[in-house]
Amino acid sequence: MLDVAITNYVALSATIFFIGVAGVLLRRNPLIMLMSIELMWNAANLLFLAFSRMWTNDAGHVFAFLVITVAAAEAAIGLAIVVIVFRNAQNVDVDEVASLRG
């Protein structure tokens, strides 16, 4: 690998992460929101790998696999919820699904 300064990895990761945050906060389509969440997972994975490389410690790789597994499970549940919401409400606008309002 080329010697890229660790600060670049951190900056890239933060950028991806906040793109994901902005996607979750600003988009009303649950599919887009799930994709944005994937962005945040992967921003975290990038950091794990970068620091793993920096400290030459393989634990970061293990954590990245763990994150991928959890992200897959999360996507499965999230998509299932989206399907059920669509069946019940005939649309998938998250702002319309607000029956938990106190």
Binding site: V21, V24, L26, R28, D95, V97, A98, S99, R101, G102
Partner: protein, 662 residues
């Protein structure tokens, strides 16, 4: 007689039987009332009747002096270490027990007739038996604690019986009033018990009286006053007397048993029982004697202004108990107790006689609506005449002997003023009792005269006779008295006439010998007026009273113009008398109103603003917090996501700053 030796060593089981028999009767009538039906009357009567027989059988045990102590004693339980409770039968409690069970039995039998047809027949006998049990607890206890328990139970029994017809609001109010005033007395006695237990280390009468010499004058006076508050409440002494006339709301046998013959004399018993305390406290003697005399006089004066036959008798009871209290108060214990003894007979006689009249007239109690009953109810007339002659103190009748003993006793113990009050009261008594007799029994029957023509202005009665209550399911028809109503009245005539002869003969009379060793004896200087002269003076005053009553109500002109006369008297009755000397108003002003004011303060200010207010503030705070938390629950997914972001940023900021500091 085997009983002569029983009870000396502290075991006298017969006493327990006497004590508990009425309780057993009460429980049976209470528990099985509906199934017993008509049998409840004979059952209740039998319980008291057997107790009376056992009392008579115990006569020897109660008067024995073997073993150094007077009477028979039965230990019951050890309440606390050093505080043993038991029963004591000495001449004083023997006399009371005999009257309670004897007169009580006659009144039970009478009630079978009087209460026949009442839907709560069994309940009535349960209450009557319970009352007898409570009264026996009071008089048979050998200690102050048992006395206090009996004192309270008697008040409760009285409450039950006055309010027996509880669908009448006036009866309920009267019952409540009697109970509250009696509790005032209970509290007085309670403090006396505390003081006695603290000073003597015991509550048994014998121990306390033996040690009472060391109490000191102020403590003795305080104990006597506290005891007298109890006595005054129970015995209707001024100013705690106002419940007694109202208590006439109960059935007439109740008035005869409780509010004439037995319960109201509990105060007399208490003072006679505590004679060793009183004899050591001249101040207490003066106080009690004066209040007794005042009550005798006030009761008699109020008796002249009443129209309800039972209220006339109620005020006469109050007045006669005033005599008794005056007697035992000044130290003439034998005299005061003697008047209790004769009064129990003639007052029960008068009440039961009035009950015959009331029963026969379909619950009419106003003497103005009576008249001419001599011919209609000759038996009741004879009964009432003997009772009136006895209460007036006509020589030979029972009241003559006992009343003179009290009046002479007041003089002998150095109270000339009370002596004068006693003589004056005797005259007034003769007047109002004869007034009742003449108005109700002479002349023509006035039951069909319009009430307003008789000056009856009471809103409850005016124009609607017989509408005052509705306890009798069969309606208010006139009844012929049953034989079991007449027989007790007839039996009471005997002691009403003859009981006084027991007191004939001064120091050597059976009466004085019976009580030898019971009361402390003081050596007194000879009275300024000899007993025979007192008798003459009293008799002259009494005859004057009768003469005035005769002139006003019994002459031919008086009876022929009775309607107009009674109307005149009703309308011109002085306000001070119709308002009963404003005792009720004064009690209302001094105690009821301040209590209500206190209640208002608590009800309007303290309770809603402090207690309820505190609770409400807590609730309001919880509701406000809830509203605040609810405002975050928008239901919008993206809002929750934003909160998570803020939370995460907060964590990051915290660790970034804190980490920098570390």
């Amino acid at each position: 007689m085997i009983h002569h030796v029983m009870g000396v060593d502290g075991t006298y089981p017969l006493l327990v039987a006497i004590w508990l028999l009425p309780l057993a009767g009460a429980i049976l009538c209470w528990a099985f009332g509906p199934r017993l039906g008509k049998l409840a009357g004979p059952l209740g009567s039998a319980a008291v009747g057997i107790a009376f027989v056992l009392t008579v059988l115990s006569w020897g045990a109660g008067t024995q002096t073997a073993g150094g102590a007077l009477g028979a004693h039965q230990s019951l339980i050890s309440w606390l270490p050093g505080f043993d409770l038991g029963l004591l039968l000495d001449p004083l409690s023997l006399l009371w027990t005999a009257i309670i069970c004897g007169v009580g039995f006659l009144i039970h039998v009478y009630s079978i007739g009087y209460m026949a047809g009442d839907r709560a027949f069994a309940r009535f006998f349960a209450y009557l038996n319970f009352f007898v049990f409570a009264m026996l607890t009071l008089v048979l206890s050998d200690n102050f604690v048992g006395l206090l328990v009996g004192w309270g139970l008697v008040g409760l029994a009285s409450y039950f019986l006055i309010g027996f017809w509880f669908e009448k609001p006036s009866a309920v109010a009267a019952a409540r009033k009697a109970f509250v005033l009696n509790v005032v007395g209970d509290v007085g006695i309670m403090f006396a018990v505390f003081a006695v237990a603290a000073l003597a280390g015991s509550v048994a009468f014998g121990d306390v009286f033996a040690k009472s010499g060391g109490f000191g004058t102020p403590a003795l006076l305080a104990i006597c006053v506290a005891l007298f508050i109890g006595a005054a409440a129970k015995s209707a002494q001024i100013p705690l007397h106002t419940w007694l006339p109202d208590a006439m709301e109960g059935p007439t046998p109740v008035s005869a048993l409780i509010h004439a013959a037995t319960m109201v004399t509990a105060g007399v018993y208490l003072i006679a029982r505590c004679a060793p305390l009183w004899s050591k406290s001249p101040d207490a003697q003066l106080l009690v004697g004066a209040i007794g005399g005042l009550t005798a006089l006030v009761g008699a004066i109020l008796g002249t202004a009443q129209w309800d036959i039972k209220r006339i008798l109620a005020y006469s009871t109050m007045s006669q108990i005033g005599y008794m209290i005056m007697g035992v108060g000044v130290g003439a214990y034998e005299g005061g107790v003697a008047h209790f003894f004769t009064h129990a007979f003639f007052k029960a006689q008068l009440f039961l006689g009035s009950g015959l009249v009331i029963h026969a007239l379909g619950d009419e109690q106003d003497v103005r609506k009576m008249g001419g009953l001599r011919k209609k109810l000759p038996f009741a007339f004879v009964a009432m005449v003997t009772g009136v002659l006895a209460i007036c103190g006509i020589p030979g009748f029972s009241g003559f002997f006992s009343k003179d003993r009290v009046i002479q006793g007041a003089l002998e113990h150095g109270h000339p003023w009370l002596y004068a009050v006693g003589i004056l009261t005797a005259g007034i008594t003769a007047y109002y009792m004869c007034r009742m007799l003449f108005v109700a029994f002479l002349g023509d029957y006035r039951g069909d005269v319009d009430p307003s023509d008789l000056g009856m202005r009471h809103p409850e009665l005016a124009g609607t006779p017989f509408a005052a209550d509705g306890h009798d399911e069969g309606g208010h028809h006139e009844h012929a008295p049953a034989w079991y109503m007449n027989v007790p009245v007839g039996l009471l005539v005997v002691p009403t006439v003859l009981a006084g002869w027991l007191m004939f003969g001064g120091e050597n009379s059976p009466w004085s010998r019976f009580f030898a060793g019971q009361f402390p004896h003081a050596t007194l200087p000879a009275a300024a007026i000899p007993e025979l002269a007192t008798t003459g003076i009293v008799l002259a005053v009494v005859l004057a009273g009768i003469a005035v009553a005769y002139a006003r109500y019994a002459t031919v002109t008086a009876t022929s113009g009775a309607v107009a006369r009674l109307r005149d008297e009703s309308i011109r009755m002085p306000a001070v008398l119709t308002n009963l000397f404003y005792f009720d108003a004064a009690i209302d002003l001094l105690f009821v109103r301040p209590a209500q004011l206190l209640g208002t303060i608590f009800g309007r200010l303290l309770d809603p603003h402090v207690i309820d207010g505190g609770v409400r503030d807590v609730a309001a705070a919880a509701r406000w917090l809830g509203a605040l938390a609810r405002s975050f629950q928008t239901g919008l997914l993206r809002a929750y996501a934003l909160f998570i972001v803020f939370g995460a940023l907060a964590f990051i900021a915290y660790y970034a700053l804190a980490g920098g500091a570390r």
